[in-house]
Amino acid sequence: MTRILPKNKLDDCIAAWQKAGFSVLAPVQRHGMSSFGEVQKASEMALDLILTERTIKDHFFPQTEPLIKYKISKHDIDSETMTPPERKRIFFGVRPCDASGLEIDDPLFGWDYKDDYWFRRRENSVIVSIACSEADDFCMCTSVKLSPDSTRGADVMLRPLSGGNGWQVEAISERGTALCDTVSSLLQEETAQAAPLPRVDGKFDVEKVMEWLADKENFESRFWKDISMRCIGCGSCTFLCPTCHCFDIQDEGDTYQGIRRKNWDSCSFALFTMHTSGHNPRNAQSTRWRQRIMHKFNYYQGKFGVNSCSGCGRCTRQCPVDMGITETLQAITNLPR
């Protein structure tokens, strides 16, 4: 016997959660792009998508985030620190790769100086993951030691039933248990088989990759020039990545008032590291691509004990020149040694 959430009870669930003070966000297809958005009814959810084009990162580390509002007068400056709204949110139908992405970024936003903007949202959010029933050629979770039903970063794990009319429910965290309690009357105890997981073939050998990257000799390898030749430095892969966290801080306004904002930035851009003097430590696209790979599969591992990749494959799926991390890591795996 397992606990089941029948699909036809989803509207009741949403209503119960809203009554408990939560906003419910789920995959939606809006404005020509799939992403996570607030929903009122189950029919608004696009739960059949393999993966939304945009990640749930957008809702924890928004593309642009107001930090400080300021007003400048002749003798004084008024400034007010802006804080993200204290809003309890449920993210329903998160894919395991996206849920892992949040957990991967936690230590970065928390080491030493705590980024309140990130953690206030994290603490007020419940992640309800749904295991994948389909995968495409770009999915690579198994290559980074995750799986289509990984519970990493999830508070509740739902596994689709074979018939397709509901989900097995497993509470993973205390927060998840509390969430299940709010809808316990809607859950049923049943014997029902979960649908088989999709096959996600290994795309590269992450151990071999990490070993090659760790070898200092390879930092100056001409491999980096060859592999990044067609990168146009557009930054799409970083913006669509569930773990990329780099940002810029910019003031936006007129002479007398404005808002200081934290905006997404990308290691793909030349300006990212350009000194005022004109010196740029990463002055070629190849050095910037190297930084991206090194950061994800070497530096981050060294600092936080985890690779900064959850295998969603968006970087490759949506790359305008069909490049992405997968190809590079495959090539590294296959390099003669």
Binding site: L67, Y113, F247
Partner: protein, 278 residues
């Protein structure tokens, strides 16, 4: 909140060299000042800014032995530094920090000190120099080698005069060939060359080296020739920064975040970093 700066009142502004100025800043709020006093150690840096313009990263040029105000020295070069150049006494600016690691000055006790600075890199060095000179009895011989492109480009000229007069400090001043004036009586030559001529002994000596990358590169070679162990040579690195606290992801050299693990490193640590990322 993490990215919210302290308001600071400009106490004074001093012209150092063409395009180079020093601002002396006082904390507006007592609690901010207490925080600074409790946390600041020489070598740390801050983000100085103006609302509407942004923030720029430079060192705290005042020593840890003088925490009543913050001094910062910068060259007018970009948007923020241009606007900071235009402020006057009484104006408000912002400061975030102190961030980063520091010079382990207690470990220098009982040793001779050799300071080497080039151009606008005297301010970070000067912070260490005064942190030591204010506790002069704890150290052995103190040598300062300072060079700039031209006589006009030397910064902290009034303090150079002070150091010159002191008999417990050996000041070696130099300007690049062609940068001397008719009344210039000190050295003419590049810092590494002048350093090798001065030939300070590496015995029981700590070297602190700050300057533009090219100067650091050649001075490290000279220090090696003079017999200095890389573990006894300290330097500071800089990179573009936005957050200052290890999150915005741009200031790393290899795996090392300059903002958190630096900006102070030994030459040995720098030598282990990938050169292609510097």
């Amino acid at each position: 909140m993490i990215y919210t700066p302290f308001p600071m009142r400009v106490v004074s502004k001093r012209e150092e060299a063409p395009g180079v100025r020093t601002l002396k800043l006082e904390f507006v709020r007592q609690e901010d000042h207490e925080f600074f006093k409790a946390n600041y150690r020489t070598g740390m840096f801050g983000l100085y800014g103006l609302f509407g313009e942004g923030e720029s990263t430079f060192c705290v040029a005042s020593p840890e032995t003088r925490k009543d105000a913050i001094e910062c020295t910068f060259r007018q070069s970009g948007r923020v530094t241009s606007m900071l150049s235009g402020v006057d006494a009484g104006d408000l600016v912002t400061f975030r920090g102190p961030y980063g690691n520091c010079f382990p000055i207690e470990q220098f006790y009982g040793k001779n000190l050799l300071f080497i600075a080039g151009g606008i890199a005297l301010p970070p060095t000067r912070s260490v120099i005064w942190s030591c000179l204010d506790r002069r009895e704890k150290f052995g011989r103190v040598t300062i080698v300072y060079g700039a492109r031209t006589v006009a480009d030397l910064v902290y000229k009034h303090e150079l005069d002070d150091w010159k007069k002191r008999d417990d400090v050996n000041l070696v001043l130099t300007v690049d060939p062609g940068g001397e004036t008719p009344d210039w009586t000190d050295h003419v030559g590049f810092v590494p060359t002048v350093l090798e001529q001065a030939a300070p002994s590496p015995d029981n000596t700590i070297a602190v080296l700050c300057g533009p990358p090219i100067m650091i590169k050649f001075t490290l070679i000279s220090l090696q020739k003079l017999g200095f162990d890389q573990e006894n040579v300290y330097t500071t690195l800089e990179n573009r920064m936005k957050c200052g606290v290890g999150k915005c992801g741009r200031c790393n050299v290899g795996s090392v975040y300059i903002c958190k693990e630096g900006p102070v490193f030994t030459a040995a640590e720098v030598s282990r970093m990938p050169e292609g990322d510097l």
